[in-house]
Symmetry: C2
Subunit: 240 residues, 2 copies
């Protein structure tokens, strides 16, 4: 059975303006690979309602699950919950269970809940909450879409809350070999080797270091013994 | 006149498996912002022909220009040129001017062109070449799509070759203020300030450091004097 598929949607002007460098994609990609879920696509869109709604609807229809990051805080540019509700065609309002979590949190820290903070309790109808052990304000899951915060520590904690609820497939295994030759010399033999092992994926990722060209060749698949066999052949083709 | 819009398409399994962390998006985002081009969306897709063709066609119809990175090397998993040709419905083959660049390069370095290296001279009909001063194998522009390499040094050099050919708008200016309070305290006053300055964008980017909550508030716009005025008001609202 093929592995389940997934997409990620990163929401936020700050990535597209070059102000901030996203790190949540790289984190999620590694976690999903370990969990046997194929991350097939990622998108970054700005804080624009039309763009967010369109991306959510395209991605949730194309993939088994969708993970979003960003736009669920208390400020006026945090519009993700409203956009997700619009994409699903359901109402969104402050929900009692989410409000109770926030009230208890602010009571403990000696501050008060206000209108802005209450925005973080706006949850689309029919969603279930995602636990946020870091800063309490919850994420939520509706249909096949998991809506999470953009702050990396919070995003990572929410991913840890969601992943055990998802059914994964066989984890994708990989091995890599660093070959200090130009890709032009590697490409022919690698193509022939890939044809011999059609059950494995072989990728070549070139780099340049201190003026020399090299490539990391990565072999991926679900069967460790087959990867071992292909890797032995590869190493034999390119002795150091 | 509104600024021209753009999208980026990152092509490569290695980003989606979590093996590699993309850095080209962050670089391009900064360059486009300085050039007055609004980067509205970015996507990452795997080395799958169907996914690449669909993404190119969706993005080139939605935005003024599209920048791709990855998949134009000599190995069997480098399929970007063929996918771009398919998206545009034009033939693709080894082209004499691109072949001549490669032959001269390999003659200089004392190695020979081979079948794999010749793949890098496959250029869709009607495209113009993008200069690659780092490793010679060219990128290309077809219609509103700029096709570039994934290796960061090469990608960055190609962006430098392409940008002067594009008409930009007014550069987006920005200033930011670091406020050591939770976003829940910042949100209300910031929303009111944003309503007073409808010509500016105000965004709040929360962080957590050493257990304390804070946010960087960023004000963006095209008129530096207006940004100064709003920033002065913002600083007055949140004295240290």
């Amino acid at each position: 059975m093929p592995n389940p598929t997934a997409a990620m949607l990163v929401i936020g002007n700050e990535i597209l303006s070059g102000r901030t460098r996203d790190s949540n994609l790289h984190f999620l990609a590694g976690e999903l690979t370990r969990h046997g879920i194929d991350l097939r696509e990622a998108r970054v869109v700005s804080d624009s309602a039309a763009a967010i709604v369109q991306a959510i609807n395209e991605l949730r229809s194309r993939y088994d699950s969708v993970f979003t990051s960003g736009g669920i805080g208390p400020t006026h540019d945090d519009i993700t919950a409203d956009c997700v509700a619009e994409a699903f065609g359901v109402p969104v309002d402050v929900r009692d269970d989410a409000r109770a979590l926030l009230e208890a949190h602010y009571a403990r820290t000696g501050s008060e809940i206000n209108e802005a903070r209450l925005r973080m309790a706006r949850i689309p109808d029919g969603a279930t909450l995602i636990d946020n052990p870091v800063s309490i304000a919850p994420g939520f899951t509706i249909g096949n879409v998991h809506v999470m915060a953009g702050v990396p520590t919070v995003f990572e904690a929410m991913v840890a809350s969601v992943l055990p609820t998802l059914t994964g497939g066989a984890p994708l295994l990989s091995q890599s070999l660093r070959i200090m030759r130009g890709e032009g010399q590697i490409a022919g033999p690698l193509r022939d080797l890939a044809a011999e092992f059609p059950d494995l994926q072989m990728g070549s990722y070139p780099f340049q270091k201190d003026g020399a060209f090299g490539a990391n060749v990565v072999i991926r698949g679900e069967d460790g013994a087959r990867i071992d066999a292909a890797m032995t052949r590869l190493a034999g083709l390119f002795p150091e």
